[in-house]
């Protein structure tokens, strides 16, 4: 999903708090009116959204699993076509829901921004929420003729993405029975950091009623195959191709982060001049620009053996580790004087048998 043509019509900001010491809920402080943002402020707000939700970031499309009365989906859906007064009232229910979902004391408070509008081309209605933790910072300003430095304790939505989480519910077709016709996207930097997933659960699960997508194994395998195909068909030198495929194995199999995006692989490993072609290639193959749950359980043999081909009918098969540690492949000039190069393979093992 490309979050272009993002138009925000109503914004309201409530404040929620850490739980009290006895773990009871401390009531949110509600806004008493909708916010009016200047063109500049709105531009910055949109910028934060697209930064977090774009392909280069780790936003995930999630499954909506709770959609009955009192669920986030149901509360949000009621906000789409309401009057401003009802929007304000409804958004307070959303704030209460987040306060309830923050069960542990270690979860910090922050600003809850509830907003709605339309997004995409063609545009569809959405309701979004941002939980933004506050930061402290300095500001320099003029007080009369004198420049003074002020200390500000409550700034939020700075470009530091780890300090906010976004939930977006898109309503493609509300005539369909829930949860069909609705799509949920979540951005939370905690999801993509290994061992921090639990820290993210209260937001996407208890608050938004979503679950991690179940297509991780399928999408991971698809990513692997498509990328391999792309590298193979590129016009890089054979040695460079082999290096890139090495990197692909490592990226898919060994990286510890629970999610990945295709863009991560592209910007980390591909030469710059191929990065845009790569993202166009995946777009044409309809591979998601959003994050994917890294799951190699269904990849079977594909990650265990590598097969290199030489000419028409010579193959070398090895595990990726053995290939890396015990096999050396060099290109040498052909000795028969004909055009094509030859290959010299050094295997640091003795021949032990034949299949």
């Amino acid at each position: 999903m490309l979050f272009e043509n993002l138009n925000i019509s109503r914004v309201v900001v409530h404040e929620i708090f850490q739980r009290n010491e006895d773990r009871s809920i401390r009531s949110p402080v509600f806004a008493d009116a909708l916010e009016t943002l200047s063109t500049e402020a709105m531009g910055a707000f949109r910028l934060r959204m697209t930064d977090a939700l774009s392909g280069q970031s780790q936003s995930l499309q999630m499954r909506v699993v709770r959609y009955g009365a009192g669920s986030f989906l149901e509360l949000a859906e009621r906000l789409i076509d309401t009057s401003n007064a009802d929007f304000l009232v409804g958004s307070k229910q959303v704030a209460n829901k987040l306060a309830e979902a923050q069960m542990a004391r270690r979860i910090p408070g922050g600003m809850l921004i509830v907003f709605n509008g339309r997004v995409g081309a063609p545009a569809v209605p959405f309701v979004g929420v941002i939980k933004a933790e506050t930061q402290a910072g300095f500001r320099r300003s003029k007080d009369g003729a004198k420049a003074v430095v002020e200390f500000l304790q409550n700034i939020f939505l700075t470009p530091a993405t780890r300090l906010y989480k976004i939930g977006m519910m898109l309503f493609d077709d509300t005539a369909k029975p829930k949860p069909d016709g609705r799509r949920a996207f979540v951005f939370d930097s905690n999801i993509s950091v290994s061992n921090r997933e639990a820290a993210a659960a209260y937001f996407y699960e208890h608050f938004l009623g979503c679950a991690l997508p179940s297509d991780g194994p399928y999408e991971t395998a698809r990513f692997f195959d498509l990328t391999k195909d792309f590298i193979r068909k590129s016009d890089l030198e054979p040695e460079k191709k082999r290096d890139l495929i090495d990197s692909l194995y490592v990226f898919v199999r060994d990286d510890q982060e629970p999610t990945f995006t295709a863009d991560q692989f592209g910007s980390r490993y591909l030469p710059l001049e191929l990065q845009d072609t790569y993202s166009d290639f995946l777009e044409a193959k309809k591979f998601t620009p959003n994050a994917v749950i890294r799951d190699t359980t269904k990849m079977g043999n594909r990650l265990r053996r590598r097969r290199l081909k030489f000419g028409g009918d010579i193959e070398l098969s090895a595990s990726p580790e053995a290939l890396k540690d015990k096999v050396q492949i060099d290109v040498i000039p052909a000795e028969d004087g004909h055009g094509d190069n030859w290959t010299r393979i050094t295997i640091r093992e003795r021949l032990t048998g034949e299949q």
Partner: protein
């Protein structure tokens, strides 16, 4: 009245020329600002008596009582000015001198060169409240800056009958005119080569100018920034760019609102902003590498397209 007529001719000609060479700047096209000149009475009388021509009524018959001089850079541009002179509906025009005809008639001579027109007011011309008498003449001299230099050198000296120039002075002047004509040929070559080098960029600039108007309903205000943007972003405008861009904008009509909302900034009044969007669409990762725009300036373009500026601090 002559003053008013001269000012009228000058302003009308400037407007005609501006329309003809749009979007180039007419103030740069005229190498010397147009300024109508009135012949003072003594010089008028001198002319009437000294030319040996029988003027019955020097005030009506001498055609350059008010004159205008147009100086351009290239000799081809002289013909463009001629076209503008002949296109006005406020006057009738008659050619008085044409250096090309004179060259053809006397191929061995190198002498004063200029194109002279006499324009005469039609009835009903009024300039800031002053009625211009029909048939009032005004002489327009059109020449290149090189021809102008020659004429400045020799004016009031060897052509006025009161001075009979020595033949070696005349010879030196003729040599310089010959050199000027040759130089003009070289100028034309330089111009042609420059145009060829600039042509692709200019075509793209014209395309974005046209699309910008149609797409945003805004009047573009191209500044040097526009050229800078075109020069950098045109690397992503490949063959068929006209159609590609039109289709891209049709698919993303919402970009018009974004541009309109930010039109208070000079950047968004540059037609080349369309090219910025196009470049990001084509090569999101390569655009920022040596872009003339800063990251802060580029980020909103990415955001509008639902993307994130690569390699920014997170």
């Amino acid at each position: 009245m002559y003053e008013a007529w001269g000012a009228f001719v000058s302003e009308t000609l400037t407007a005609l020329m501006a329309r003809q060479i749009h979007p180039a700047n007419v103030d740069l096209f005229f190498r010397i600002p147009l300024r109508p000149r009135i012949k003072s009475e003594p010089s008028l009388l001198a002319k009437a008596f000294h030319r040996g021509k029988p003027y019955m009524d020097p005030y009506a018959e001498i055609e350059d009582k008010v004159g205008l001089r147009v100086v351009v850079l290239f000799s081809e541009e002289i013909r463009e000015v001629e076209r503008a002179i002949r296109s006005s509906e406020h006057w009738t025009s008659a050619k008085a001198r044409d250096f090309e005809d004179e060259r053809a008639a006397r191929p061995f001579e190198f002498d004063y060169q200029s194109l002279h027109y006499i324009v005469r007011a039609k009835s009903g011309v009024n300039y800031s409240g002053i009625e211009i008498e029909p048939n009032t003449p005004c002489e327009i001299q059109v020449r290149t800056i090189l021809q102008h230099a020659y004429s400045e050198l020799t004016h009031d000296t060897i052509y006025k009958p009161s001075i009979q120039a020595e033949s070696d002075v005349k010879r030196a002047a003729a040599k310089s005119m010959a050199l000027i004509e040759a130089t003009d040929d070289y100028f034309a070559q330089v111009r042609e080569k420059l145009e060829r080098a600039l042509a692709p960029g200019r075509l793209i600039a014209e395309t974005v100018d046209r699309e910008y108007r149609a797409f945003t309903d805004l009047e573009p205000e191209p500044s040097p920034l526009n050229t800078l943007l075109v020069d950098y972003f045109r690397q992503w405008a490949k063959e068929g760019f006209d159609d590609d861009l039109a289709e891209f904008l049709r698919a993303k009509p919402f970009l018009a609102e974004r541009i309109q909302a930010r039109a208070t900034e000079l950047l968004y009044r540059q037609p080349a902003v369309l090219l910025v969007y196009w470049g990001i669409k084509q090569a999101a990762r390569q655009v920022p590498l040596s872009s003339p725009l800063t990251d802060e300036e580029l980020a909103p373009f990415y955001s509008d397209l639902g993307k994130r500026l690569p390699n920014t601090r997170a």
